[in-house]
């Protein structure tokens, strides 16, 4: 079913805003963070106005209501990703989810399936966002494990040609992005998961750029851990998800220690509850979780399938239009096969920062820079790109504005005599 984008746009207060020179805001930076529909904003307010209380703690009515709301949100997340509620851990962000995993794995004692040493390998890729790279670099340093990585091909996809060498008997952990936040390339997961199972490696998916944009079942993917951020999925800031398979969470040591995650405590030691409690020390971001639950409902009501198809259509259109801009080079796949709505490009003679500024003057918000994927940029011998990333509230007209904006920036910066 095609999306009714004008109705959707109307749900997002910020999209009614005027920006520079009274231009309407054309928001093409959802890869960095998404905007929020009024339903989510109101859910957060409503929690504070009516049900705010510390979950799992009080014996009073609003504590019960807060707990119901918070655990209800967990069930919504579980349904959204096709997992079990007890497998859903609320974190503050995907960054925390991935670091939490790296630290928890680092906390594992010898004999644990998570234990790493000099004979272990941790596999990432050149496409990774810093959040799914540096935690593993540091874990490798702490444990003596070796960090290895997939390289990229000319389409800025993973190069799978040496997959059988990369995923070998020493490979204990494969931490990989589901969709690149630079090139938009979608990872060929079946190939990786299948090979990972052969050698018994754990698969960890950075789903920041995929979970908000496509219908995903963690069960069908066959992966072991899964991380994404609420704020990129029309949810509040400060809430993220770590999902893991029950058998693994049972064996995984905790990450943060504190209240509500213990079964007993003495001055010298503690024993820990089961997931998800074990991984949620302290008073959590209750309003954030509740808002995320409503956000995922909002997406599901529209339909992830529909959202994905809409984005593919937009991407197709964008790729065609961008190809017609002289001097513009798209960084990433040139067609919509296994590719999301993240469009990075460079324009000859205009630095991305300057292009971004010129677009901003027309109310068009894009991102410029290395997109927290610095090793990838260096590999591509680029300092920066301009990135337009699209979502359910964008339409074809937004893309037209982008193209017009680029053309007028070219006129300004490349006018003869300069």
């Amino acid at each position: 079913m095609p999306l009714d984008v004008s109705t959707i746009k109307a749900d997002f207060p910020i999209l009614q805003r005027k920006v520079r020179h009274d231009n309407p805001l054309i928001y093409l930076d959802s890869g960095a963070t998404s905007q929020k529909p009024i339903q989510v904003i109101d859910a957060v307010s409503n929690f504070y106005k009516n049900h705010n209380s510390a979950v799992h703690r009080g014996a009073h009515l609003i504590a019960e209501e807060a707990t119901d709301a918070y655990e209800g949100a967990r069930e919504k997340v579980a349904k959204f990703i096709d997992g079990d509620p007890d497998e859903v851990i609320f974190t503050k962000s995907a960054t925390e989810s991935l670091n939490a995993l790296a630290y928890s794995i680092g906390n594992a004692a010898k004999g644990s399936p998570f234990y790493l040493d000099e004979n272990s390998e941790i596999l990432v890729s050149e496409l990774e966002h810093h959040a799914n790279l540096i935690p593993w670099q540091e874990l490798a340093k702490r444990t003596g494990a070796k960090l290895t990585w997939f390289e990229i091909d000319e389409d800025v996809r993973l190069d799978y040609s040496n997959i059988d060498q990369l995923i070998n008997k020493k490979t204990k952990i494969i931490a990989i992005t589901h969709q690149s936040n630079v090139s938009g390339a979608i990872t060929d997961l079946p190939a990786i998961v299948e090979r990972a199972k052969v050698v018994g490696a754990l698969t960890i998916l950075d789903a920041c750029q995929s979970a908000p944009h496509m219908d995903i079942s963690v069960k069908k993917l066959g992966i072991d851990f899964y991380a994404f951020s609420g704020h990129k999925a029309v949810g509040p800031t400060g809430i993220g998800i770590l999902w893991g398979r029950t058998e693994l969470l049972d064996q995984l040591p905790p990450f943060l220690y504190g209240g509500s995650m213990v079964t007993s405590v003495t001055m010298t030691g503690a024993t820990f509850a089961k997931s998800p409690r074990k991984f949620e020390a302290g008073v959590p971001n209750m309003a954030g979780a509740v808002g995320l639950g409503v956000a995922l409902d909002y997406l599901s009501d529209i339909g992830m399938e529909n959202i994905h198809n809409h984005e593919i259509a937009l991407t197709q259109y964008s790729l065609e239009k961008l190809a017609q801009v002289e001097g513009l080079t798209v960084i990433g796949p040139k067609n919509v096969e296994m590719r999301g709505a993240v469009l990075s490009f460079t324009v000859d003679g205009i630095h991305p920062h300057d292009l971004g500024q010129a677009l901003d003057e027309n109310g068009i918000a894009v991102r410029t820079g290395h997109h927290c994927a610095w090793p990838l940029m260096k590999k591509m011998k680029l300092v920066a790109t301009t990135r337009a990333s699209l979502y359910l509230y964008n339409d074809f007209t937004d893309v037209d504005h982008l193209i017009t904006g680029i053309e007028s920036a070219k006129k300004f910066f490349l006018k003869s005599g300069r």
Partner: protein
């Protein structure tokens, strides 16, 4: 504010035809500065003593603002005493922090006043300062200020 007043012709000219953008060999000091939020880079070579900055050359990649600003800076401080260079630098920084309030001191800054519009764009101030920060660092390391 519009694009023309941010990107004055002078800025675009320096961007297209930067001054002193060729690293001198055997400098007194070589420093390398990066803007980690966008990846822009500048390498600055400085030769000088307490009486004079004899040679200020540089190389780098980055946006028009960072490149033009470094170009203007290299031209401005070349041959100046470290103390003079420092007061130019301070004047430039003050203008940058003025949130659009200051037009800049034409006498001290010369072409540098073309960057006054940048101070209205918080995200771009770091671009304009990249080369200047490298200069400051180089002077400190050479023990000139």
């Amino acid at each position: 504010m519009n694009l023309e007043s941010l990107y004055q012709d002078l800025i675009l000219d320096h961007y297209k035809n930067p001054l002193n953008k060729k690293l001198a060999e055997n400098p007194g000091i070589s420093v390398h500065h990066v803007n980690p939020s966008c990846g822009d880079e500048v390498t600055l070579h400085l030769t000088g003593d307490r009486s004079e900055l004899k040679s200020v050359t540089w190389d780098g990649v980055g946006c028009s603002i960072s490149q033009a600003s470094t170009s203007v800076m290299s031209d401005l401080v070349q041959g100046k005493s470290p103390a003079q260079a420092e007061s130019i630098l301070n004047s430039f920084m003050e203008m940058m922090q003025s949130k659009g309030g200051s037009q800049g001191d034409l006498e001290l800054l010369g072409d540098g006043v073309a960057f006054s519009g940048v101070s209205k764009f918080p995200a771009r101030i770091k671009c304009a300062l990249l080369g200047w920060m490298a200069l400051k660092d180089a002077m400190v390391q050479l023990d000139l200020i």
